[in-house]
C-alpha cells in the first residue's frame, strides 16, 4: 500500500494538470479517489478497524491506467489487502473495458489473479464494476460492485452500495467457499463540504454464504455482521 501510494504521489507530481500544452483537448490527467476511508468496530472484537477503498487513474480520454486498492487494518495489523492494476479503455459511451492483475496480500496465503472487468455507469445511474478474476490454479471469482446516489440536498447524499463475490471452487486457505460466497451492503450518508471532500456516517452489513460461512464458523468467526462506520470520501 505504502509503495503504491508513493508511486501515485510521484506520478501525480509528474503529470500535474498544468503540464499540458495549449489547444490540447485531451490532456494527460490523474485522479485519486478515496471512495471509502472509514473506521468501524472490528468484527468479533472491541477494537477499531480502519477500512479503505481507493482508486486512482492516470491517462487520457480513451486509455487509462487504473489502480484499485482495498484493505483493512486492526490494531496496526493488516487484516486484508487487495491491490489491482488495470489497463482501461473506453469502449462505449458509458463503459470502460479493463484488463489487469489483482493481488490479495492479506495475512493468509497470497493470491494473484488475472483481472478482466467492465466499469461504468449502468442505466438508471448505477455506478458499476463487474470483474472476473482467474488464477494459475484454475480458481475464478466473479465480483460485482454497484453504487447509487440519492440526493437529499445538493450536498447531503445517501449512497447505497452492494458488493457480491461468487467463487468457482472452495479455497479453504483463504476461507472462500464456492458459489455465492459473500455479500456486503453499505449505506453511507455524506455531506459534500466541497465536491472533493465529504465526511460520512453509515451502516455496513455483510454476510457469508455456503462454504464461506461454514469455514468462518469452523474458525470460530462470525459469518455476518452489521457495523456503524464513520469516514471521509475525498478525491483530487
Amino acid at each position: 500500500m505504502k509503495a503504491a501510494s508513493a508511486a501515485l504521489a510521484v506520478s501525480g507530481l509528474l503529470f500535474s494538470t498544468a503540464a499540458w500544452s495549449h489547444g490540447d483537448d485531451d490532456p494527460l490527467l490523474t485522479k485519486m479517489m478515496f471512495d471509502q476511508h472509514e473506521w468501524r468496530r472490528a468484527t468479533g472484537s472491541d477494537s477499531g478497524a480502519l477500512v479503505w477503498q481507493a482508486n486512482a487513474w492516470l491517462g487520457r480520454d480513451r486509455d487509462k491506467l487504473w489502480l484499485k486498492a482495498e484493505g483493512e487494518r486492526v490494531e496496526g495489523i493488516t487484516e486484508e489487502a487487495e491491490l489491482q492494476l488495470r489497463y482501461s479503455r473506453a469502449v462505449a459511451p458509458f463503459w470502460d473495458a479493463q484488463l489487469g492483475w489483482r493481488a490479495d496480500l492479506g495475512p493468509g496465503p497470497e493470491r494473484h489473479w488475472l483481472a478482466a472487468g467492465l466499469r461504468g455507469l449502468a442505466p438508471y445511474w448505477f455506478d458499476t464494476d463487474l470483474a472476473l478474476f482467474a488464477d494459475a490454479d484454475g480458481r475464478t471469482v466473479l465480483c460485482l460492485e454497484a453504487e447509487y446516489e440519492l440526493l437529499f440536498t445538493q450536498r447531503l447524499i445517501l449512497s447505497p452500495d452492494l458488493e457480491v463475490n461468487v467463487y468457482s471452487q472452495d479455497d479453504r486457505a483463504t476461507g472462500a467457499g464456492s458459489g455465492l460466497s459473500d455479500v456486503e451492503f453499505g449505506l453511507r450518508l455524506r455531506y459534500e463540504i466541497r465536491r472533493e471532500f465529504a465526511p460520512y456516517v453509515g451502516l455496513v452489513g455483510w454476510r457469508k454464504f455456503g462454504d464461506s460461512a461454514n469455514f468462518a464458523r469452523q474458525q470460530g468467526e462470525r459469518s455476518d455482521d452489521l457495523q456503524w462506520v464513520i469516514g471521509v470520501r475525498a478525491w483530487f
Partner: protein
C-alpha cells in the same frame, strides 16, 4: 435572491463593491482593475500583460489588455485602414482575434491557422481595411487566456450616417470571471463533469413530482432520463458556483452604471464575451428595441427579454422616459448568478435588483425528441442513448416531422406564410436533406444522438418558454430579419451536415464525433454558396462561430436572411445557414464555449480563389 444563500456565498456570487473590496482585502492594490478609456482612431498600440485583480475578495492575476479588464473599447470607422500593434508582455504566446470581422486570413489572429501567434516579448502588427460597421469584440485565441480577462469591445461606426444614432450609446460587455486556473477547471470537468451543477434533482423534487403527477407519470418521465443517464438540470458546465459574472468588468456588488437623461434614446451594445455563460437579459420597466444582431442591421423588433449566446452581440435601443433608475439584469441560463448594471439619470440613484428566475429544467424537445417544444405536446418519445437502439426508421421519422407537424409548433414559418416552410430546401428555408447520423458518431465519445432534431427558430428556449407563455415578448432567431434584405440571394449549391456531439460524463466534444486533432480540414470552394446544417446531438447549447465569412441564418424568410457570425444551436435542435465563400485561406470554425473549443473545432480550408 435565494434565501438559503450564506453570506460568504453571497459575496462570492455578487462580488465586491470596488471600495469595500479594497478594504476587505486589507489593501488597495487588489481592487478591480482600472478601466482604460475608450480609444478612437486607426492606429493603436495594445500591450498584453498580467494585472492583479480582486473580484471576490481574493487577489488573482488576470490577463489584460493595457491593464484593463475588459480591454479598452476600440472605436473604428468603416472604410478605414486600421493598424494595431500588439505587444506580448506575458510569459507565453498570445494573440488577438477580431471576432466577426471580414478580413484577410493572415490578420484573423488564430495561432496555428492564421499566423504563428505572438511570442513573449514580441510584437505583431495587424493591418487591414475595415469593411463593415456595428458592434463586435476582440479576444485572445491562445489557450484559455480569454477566460482570464483577455477580451474587449469593438465599435465600428458606419461611413454613412447611422439612422439609429442615439444621443447615448453604451457598450454593455458581459463576461464570466473565475478565481480558479482555467486549465485546472478543464481537468476538473474531465474528472467530474457535474462538479458545478448544484441544481440536480433531489429526493424532494421526486416527491413533489409524484404528488403532483402520480407515480406512473413520474416513473415514465424519470425512466427516460435515467435510462439515458442524462440530467435534465445540466444547463451549464461551469456555473455561478465558480463564476462571478461581470458587466463591463464590474461584479454585481460594484455594478456598472450607465447614464441617461429622461426622454433620451439610449443605444446599448450588448456583447457576450463570456467563456462559457449564456445570459438572459432584461431591463425591468423598459422594453428593448433590437436593431442589430452580431453587428448587422435587423428590422427593429421590440422585446422584453433576450437570450445572448457566448460571442453573440445585440444592439438594442431603450427610451427611459421617467426620471428613475433601471437595472440591467443579465441572469445566467442556469440561474446560478447574474451580471448587473444600472441605467440611471443620476449616479447616486440605484434601482431594485430583480430576483433570479426559477432554475429551468430541460424538456423532451431539448433532447431532440419528437413532440414539439411549446410544452403542450410532450409526447412520451424514446431517445436513442445506446448505439444499438439507433434505427433509420426513427431518423426518417425525424426528417418528415418538418412537413407534417405544424400542430406541434415547429413550423413557425407556416404561421406567417402560406409556403414554403422551414426544411423545404430553398435559400432561407433550411435543408430538405434527411438528418443522417454519420458512422463516426457511434462510439464511446458520443453519449446521445437527437432523434428528431427540429428547426426550432421560434422557440424562446429552455427557461424562457414559460415567460413567453405568460405573455412576455422573448426574442427568438425567427425574429431576425435583415433590415436591408438578403445580401446574397443565390440558392445553395452544396450542403454540409455537421453534428455537434459530445460525451458529457467523459467531457469530450467534437463535430461528428471526431475531435479537431483527428479531423482533416473541412474544404470550402471559393465562390460557392454553401449551406451548413448543424444538428445538435447534445443537451447543451453550442454557439458555433465561423471565422472570415458571414453565416446567413435561415429563418424561413428568403427575402430578409439575417447575417451573423455566431449561431447558437439549442439542445436537440438543428440550424441551417448559408455561407458565401468569398474569402481565401484557412479559417477556424468552432464552438465558442471555451472548454468545448479544443475538441469541437475544424480548420476550414478554402480551395481556389488564388490562395
Amino acid at each position: 435572491m435565494n434565501p438559503g444563500f450564506s453570506r460568504s456565498r453571497r459575496r462570492f456570487v455578487t462580488g465586491l463593491a470596488a471600495g469595500a473590496g479594497a478594504l476587505w482585502a486589507g489593501r488597495l492594490l487588489g481592487a478591480t482593475p482600472v478601466l482604460a478609456p475608450a480609444r478612437t482612431g486607426n492606429r493603436f498600440d495594445l500591450s498584453i500583460g498580467y494585472q492583479p485583480v480582486n473580484f471576490t475578495g481574493k487577489e488573482r492575476l488576470a490577463t489584460t489588455i493595457d491593464g484593463s479588464l475588459p480591454g479598452p473599447v476600440l472605436h473604428w470607422r468603416e472604410g478605414d485602414r486600421v493598424r494595431i500593434r500588439v505587444t506580448n508582455r506575458l510569459a507565453e504566446d498570445t494573440s488577438i482575434h477580431w471576432h466577426g470581422l471580414v478580413l484577410p486570413a493572415a490578420m484573423d489572429g488564430v495561432p496555428g491557422i492564421s499566423f504563428p501567434g505572438i511570442a513573449p516579448g514580441a510584437s505583431f502588427e495587424y493591418d487591414f481595411e475595415v469593411r463593415q460597421s456595428g458592434t463586435y469584440w476582440y479576444h485572445s485565441h491562445s489557450g484559455f487566456q480569454e477566460q482570464t480577462g483577455h477580451y474587449g469591445a469593438l465599435v465600428i461606426h458606419p461611413r454613412e450616417p447611422d439612422s439609429f444614432a442615439c444621443p447615448r450609446d453604451h457598450v454593455v460587455l458581459l463576461s464570466d470571471w473565475m478565481d480558479a486556473d482555467p486549465a485546472a477547471v478543464y481537468a476538473r470537468l474531465k474528472k467530474q463533469s457535474h462538479y458545478d451543477n448544484y441544481g440536480q434533482r433531489t429526493v424532494g423534487d421526486l416527491w413533489r413530482e409524484i404528488r403532483d403527477r402520480g407515480v406512473a407519470a413520474t416513473w415514465r418521465e424519470r425512466a427516460m432520463w435515467n435510462r439515458m443517464r442524462m440530467s435534465d438540470s445540466d444547463l451549464s458546465d461551469v456555473s455561478g458556483h465558480t463564476y462571478t459574472y461581470l458587466m463591463n468588468g464590474q461584479p454585481p456588488a460594484a455594478g456598472w452604471t450607465g447614464l441617461f437623461a429622461p426622454g433620451e434614446q439610449v443605444r446599448l451594445r450588448f456583447i457576450n464575451a463570456s467563456a462559457m455563460t449564456y445570459f438572459d437579459v432584461r431591463i425591468p420597466g423598459l422594453r428593448m428595441r433590437v436593431i442589430a444582431a452580431d453587428g448587422q442591421p435587423v428590422e427593429p423588433v421590440t422585446v422584453d427579454d433576450f437570450r445572448i449566446g457566448v460571442a453573440e452581440t445585440y444592439d438594442v435601443i431603450v427610451e427611459p422616459a421617467a426620471d428613475t433608475a433601471y437595472s440591467l439584469f443579465a441572469q445566467a441560463i442556469d440561474r446560478s448568478g447574474y451580471a448587473l448594471g444600472t441605467l440611471t439619470p443620476h449616479p447616486e440613484l440605484s434601482a431594485v435588483v430583480p430576483a433570479l428566475d426559477p432554475r429551468p429544467v430541460l424538456s423532451h424537445a431539448d433532447m431532440g425528441m419528437a413532440g414539439g417544444h411549446t410544452g403542450h405536446g410532450a409526447a412520451p418519445g424514446h431517445a436513442s442513448a445506446n448505439p444499438g437502439e439507433m434505427n433509420h426508421a426513427a431518423m426518417n421519422h425525424a426528417a418528415m416531422n418538418h412537413a407534417g407537424m405544424d400542430h406541434a409548433g415547429m413550423d413557425h414559418a407556416g404561421h406567417a406564410m402560406a409556403a414554403p416552410t422551414m426544411g423545404s430546401g430553398g435559400a432561407g428555408f433550411g435543408s430538405a436533406a434527411p438528418v443522417v447520423h454519420p458512422a463516426s458518431e457511434f462510439g464511446p465519445q458520443v453519449d446521445m444522438r437527437a432523434e428528431a432534431p427540429a428547426y426550432r427558430l421560434d422557440d424562446p428556449g429552455v427557461g424562457l418558454r414559460e415567460l413567453a407563455r405568460r405573455g412576455r415578448r422573448v426574442l427568438t432567431y425567427a425574429d431576425l430579419r435583415h433590415r436591408h434584405g438578403t445580401v446574397d440571394p443565390r440558392e445553395p449549391e452544396r450542403e454540409i451536415q455537421l453534428h455537434l456531439t459530445g460525451n458529457m460524463g467523459r467531457y469530450q466534444w467534437a463535430f461528428d464525433g471526431i475531435r479537431h486533432a483527428d479531423a482533416a480540414p473541412l474544404p470550402f470552394r471559393y465562390g460557392e454558396r454553401l449551406r451548413i446544417t448543424l444538428v445538435n446531438d447534445t443537451m447543451m447549447h453550442h454557439p458555433i462561430h465561423l471565422h472570415g465569412m458571414w453565416s446567413d441564418l435561415e429563418t424561413g424568410d428568403g427575402a430578409r436572411i439575417p447575417r451573423k457570425h455566431t449561431l447558437s444551436v439549442a439542445p436537440g435542435a438543428r440550424v441551417s445557414y448559408l455561407v458565401s465563400v468569398d474569402a481565401t485561406g484557412s479559417w477556424a470554425f468552432h464552438c465558442h464555449l471555451l472548454y468545448h473549443m479544443p475538441g469541437m473545432m475544424r480548420t476550414v480550408q478554402v480551395i481556389g480563389g488564388g490562395a
